[in-house]
């Protein structure tokens, strides 16, 4: 069974999924799409992913899995080792909440189609888009910093000494932030965890510039 990853190097949701696949030690075929050419809006791709979004994971059994977090949960269930979620329900709830803070409160507001919509509906120029982007990053990174700095569950990584789901989401978001040059200075715990992640090959191999379709 060969996994096929339909994705785009700069996509934050693709980056978090690549990190998860790498942490699991899973090989996959890399199938790139050029978003600006509308390659994910074509009928053959929409048959795989009705939203026309990346990533999609093709399982090799004729299934096309969509939505990065749903795919990572599937990986966790079908390839349990090493785990990306802790074993206890309270710990799992914490890691998922940290993940969803990024995946539900930052990324959906800041991805490319939203910035295009701001431009088209409100005439938002680059500076206005940066204000918007930075606003949502700041709101949630402030809350993440509060939670991560005060909780004894935080370790070298977001939860203890093992990198997991929340770290995948954080790492991808920090990469996304570079689009507008947002430094991590005001979030020391996030900066410390991000630096730890940058020493792990599973993460650096997932980084946008290290993908075959990077310009």
């Amino acid at each position: 069974m060969t996994l096929k990853l339909h994705n785009f190097f700069r996509s934050s949701t693709s980056t978090r999924l690549r990190a998860a696949l790498n942490l699991k030690g899973l090989e996959y075929d890399y199938i790139p799409y050029v978003l600006r050419d509308g390659e994910t809006r074509r009928p053959d791709y929409l048959a795989k992913n009705p939203q026309g979004l990346v990533p999609t994971l093709e399982t090799g059994e004729g299934r096309f899995l969509t939505q990065s977090l749903a795919i990572i949960e599937w990986l966790e269930e079908t390839h349990p080792e090493p785990p990306l979620l802790p074993a206890d329900p309270d710990g799992r709830a914490r890691v998922r909440a940290l993940s969803y803070m990024i995946a539900c409160e930052i990324h959906p507001l800041n991805n490319l189609r939203v910035l295009f919509r701001l431009r088209d509906q409100f005439g938002a120029d680059e500076a206005a888009q940066k204000d918007w982007f930075t606003h949502w990053v700041t709101l949630t990174f402030d809350a993440l910093e509060a939670e991560l700095s005060r909780s004894q569950d935080t370790g070298t990584y977001c939860h203890g000494e093992t990198p997991g789901l929340a770290d995948c989401c954080l790492y991808a978001q920090v990469w996304n932030n570079r689009r507008f040059g947002i430094p991590l200075d005001t979030w020391p715990t996030l900066a410390r965890i991000q630096e730890a992640l940058e020493h792990l090959p599973a993460f650096t191999r997932a980084a946008p510039p290290n993908q075959p379709d990077a310009a």
Copy 2:
């Protein structure tokens, strides 16, 4: 152990969590917050939920769980019956993907703090807010309709004959859509499923107007 639900009657994420609690047959104390009075921005609430968002579930063991989807996964793990996710990994991935389509692609773009931001940053009036809101609902409901209408996994509900996680998200979003009067006419499968959900007490008891803090 008494569960305490810190929430707000009109909040879509609160609605989806209430439906999940009801489907599980779990009783809970209802603790309402008046969002427009800033009650969730006060230090005592921020200690429970660093984002200052609803809902928060207090477990009775001193834990405060945040992010509605993380809470529902916790409920699924600690109170497995009746299940809100299917048993097979592929089915679970499908239900989670349907859920995240709403929770990650519609709701984050359309909640109140985003509409306020559009007003404050871009001067968006009620009509412009409605255009924005409707745009994101339409994009994702079109994709949901495509997936639900073509898949043999769809039944009376989003996945087979048992209401689950995706139905909780759909039901809450349809309620949210009423803010701008968006009819379901163009999405016949969604309309059919929503009608089925409206016959289930677990859902109608979760509806905004049936909460103690409804005006």
